[in-house]
């Protein structure tokens, strides 16, 4: 398995957060260290403090205590009376509603940051940014004539051209419809692959996180609930309440290994085996993440015959967690991949499930339709 980007380049500028910011009655307290590369998903419900967090990093909000440092650079240190104003932090900020300047054409919007970038770095990769964000056809347009998705592409490019060392994205997909969301996610992936810098991506959608987050910072009511590698945290049963009951499930990193044209199926392989899923329009070798809801996974103690379900993953129970009502979350380890199954306590007793019991996880192919598996990762 490939190493996450955060581990590949450890020497990059790490973002250190240790502060308290008050806004009215609300206070956000953060003590966390975020990797210098890759996308950190900042996740939480509305009111959890996501916007306050990135506003403090950008210099829009002033913390009441503590410090923010990126590598060697101190953005703010209240106790030492250090304050770097917004414009000197070189932090790209992509706003939920793009915030393009309405009196300037797209080209002038893009130039705004580029012209103010540090001397010597000016305009170095102008052409490449336009190419990566597909902006060639939009340059002479006015912002008000752009669609929501186009606006966000311009906003991302505008931020990039100012040559930031850190990129903050405040729910950049919130005002877009589903096809536009997928489109912009694709551009954010290109941003991550082309420009090596830490990206903080704020969202309250687990789906968006599953697709792009390498690291997760989970906030709740102004506190950090967890911070760590995304795949570890997302399958952590203890964190499930914060991720939302409906979304309880596991995320599997896998590779497209074959297509079956006759039956219109594709095969995905992962460390614990393989999955047959409805045909995916993706090239062989594409790495992706498949999201599997706990309610879509059934358990058996031996391989059943005469069953329509083709996806059978062998593993061992490593945890049993009591849920509300008649349910239990059963955590199954399949050669390093964690699967979550939601079963009733009654079934659990009937099958005699306990820690260490070898089980077969049964997953219907239909549970892994394009909505769950559409999450492309960089192809290698």
């Amino acid at each position: 398995m490939e190493q996450p980007p955060s581990a590949r380049v450890a020497a990059r500028a790490v973002l250190k957060l240790d502060f308290t910011t008050r806004r009215g009655d609300f206070a956000l307290t953060v003590d966390a260290e975020l990797p210098g590369l890759g996308i950190t998903g900042v996740f939480g419900r509305s009111g959890a403090g996501k916007s306050t967090l990135i506003d403090t990093i950008a210099g829009i909000a002033r913390p009441d205590r503590g410090r923010v440092t990126l590598g060697e650079r101190s953005f703010v240190d209240v106790e030492r009376k250090v304050w770097t104003p917004i414009e000197q932090r070189r932090v790209g900020y992509v706003f939920q509603d793009a915030k393009l300047f309405p009196h300037l054409r797209v080209l002038a919007n893009l130039r705004y940051g580029a012209q103010r970038a540090r001397d010597g770095q000016r305009g170095a990769d102008w052409e490449r940014v336009l190419e990566v964000m597909d902006l060639g056809a939009l340059l002479t347009r006015w912002p008000n004539s752009l669609s929501g998705g186009e606006r966000q592409r311009v906003a991302i490019a505008r931020a990039l051209l100012a040559r930031p060392e850190l990129m903050l994205m405040d729910e950049p997909l919130a005002s877009l419809d589903a096809p536009r969301k997928a489109e912009i996610l694709h551009y954010i992936e290109r941003l991550r692959d082309e420009y090596p810098m830490p990206v903080l991506f704020v969202s309250h959608s687990v789906d968006e996180m599953v697709r792009i987050a390498d690291h997760l910072l989970l906030l709740n009511a102004g506190q950090v609930v967890a911070s760590g590698p995304f795949l570890e945290l997302v399958s952590d049963t203890g964190l499930q309440p914060h991720l939302g009951r409906f979304e309880a499930g596991s995320v599997i990193e896998c590779t497209v290994s074959s297509h079956d044209e006759a039956f219109e199926l594709s095969t995905l392989t992962f460390s614990g085996g393989s999955l047959r899923v409805p045909r995916l329009a993706l090239p062989l070798g594409t790495r992706l993440r498949a999201r599997l809801r706990a309610r879509d996974v059934a358990l058996a103690t031996r391989d059943p015959s005469d069953l329509s379900i083709t996806n059978r993953v062998h593993g061992r129970i490593i945890d049993l967690v009591q849920r509300e009502g008649p349910y239990l979350d059963v955590v199954v380890d399949a050669s390093g991949t964690r699967l979550l199954a939601l079963v009733t306590r009654e079934s659990c007793q009937r099958l005699g499930l306990a820690l260490g019991t070898p089980v077969v996880a049964l997953i219907k192919a239909v549970a892994l339709d394009s909505r769950a598996v559409g999450y492309t990762r960089r192809a290698r």
Partner: protein, 230 residues
């Protein structure tokens, strides 16, 4: 009455109003910005001071101007001794009276224009490397132009119509401070001056209509640019 030359009166009125309007623009933008964006002690006092000419009788404003800028006034004496400038009973004084009377209108319009601009745009400019002043001038200022234009037109019109403060502070001196309204008043006070008064009223009407049309036209151009259709 032949003593009143309408073209001379018109020229003087336009000059006085133009000087008053242009000279109050920068202070008005600064005041509007202070009132809209800043919290400081004395803010309420500044607000009240700026708006005083709206609620005070113009003659009272003229009286205060005399107190301050008259030959024996605190500022008037200093201006005269230091720079040789006299304001009371001069065309510059008429412009000052017009500017003071029109100032609240200008500040109000500009402030409305300023408050209509999304502050997030300035924040966005800051994240792109612009300092606070740079961001204000390149982003907020262009976007508040409709408010500034409205302020200019209102102030210009108010100056043309100013009477009470002007006659108190600058008096009614032909060729120096006798603007349109003062000339109309003078003509009506003079025997056989009705025809001259009618001519001046016609000029005044024409001027008002021209100003309105010009304002409407430039406002439309401005909005077309700011709202930027394809």
């Amino acid at each position: 009455m032949s003593a009143i030359d309408w073209s001379e009166v018109l020229g003087l009125s336009l000059r006085v109003a133009a000087v008053a309007t242009v000279a109050s623009l920068l202070p008005a933008i600064l005041t509007a910005w202070l009132l809209a964006r800043c919290r400081f002690p004395g803010r309420t006092l500044l607000d009240a001071l700026v708006h005083a000419p709206l609620v005070l009788p113009p003659v009272v404003v003229g009286y205060f101007l005399l107190l301050l800028f008259g030959a024996h006034g605190v500022l008037g004496r200093w201006l005269h001794e230091a720079f040789g400038i006299r304001l009371a009973f001069t065309a510059s004084g008429a412009a000052l009276a017009g500017a003071v009377m029109g100032f609240p209108l200008m500040v109000r319009s500009i402030r409305l224009g300023l408050e209509a601009v999304d502050r997030g745009l300035e924040t966005a400019a800051r994240t792109l490397g612009a300092g606070p002043f740079d961001a204000f001038v390149t982003v907020t200022l262009p976007l508040m132009l409709p408010g500034i234009l409205a302020g200019l037109v209102l102030t210009f019109a108010a100056c043309l119509g100013e009477f009470g403060a002007t006659i108190t502070f600058a008096a009614n001196i032909p060729g120096e401070t006798r603007t349109l309204t003062l000339a109309i008043y003078t003509a009506l006070q003079t025997q056989g001056g009705e025809a001259a008064a009618a001519r001046l009223v016609a000029v005044s009407l024409g001027l008002a209509i021209a100003a309105l049309l010009l304002a409407e036209w430039s406002n439309r151009r401005l909005r077309a640019w700011l709202h930027a259709p394809c």
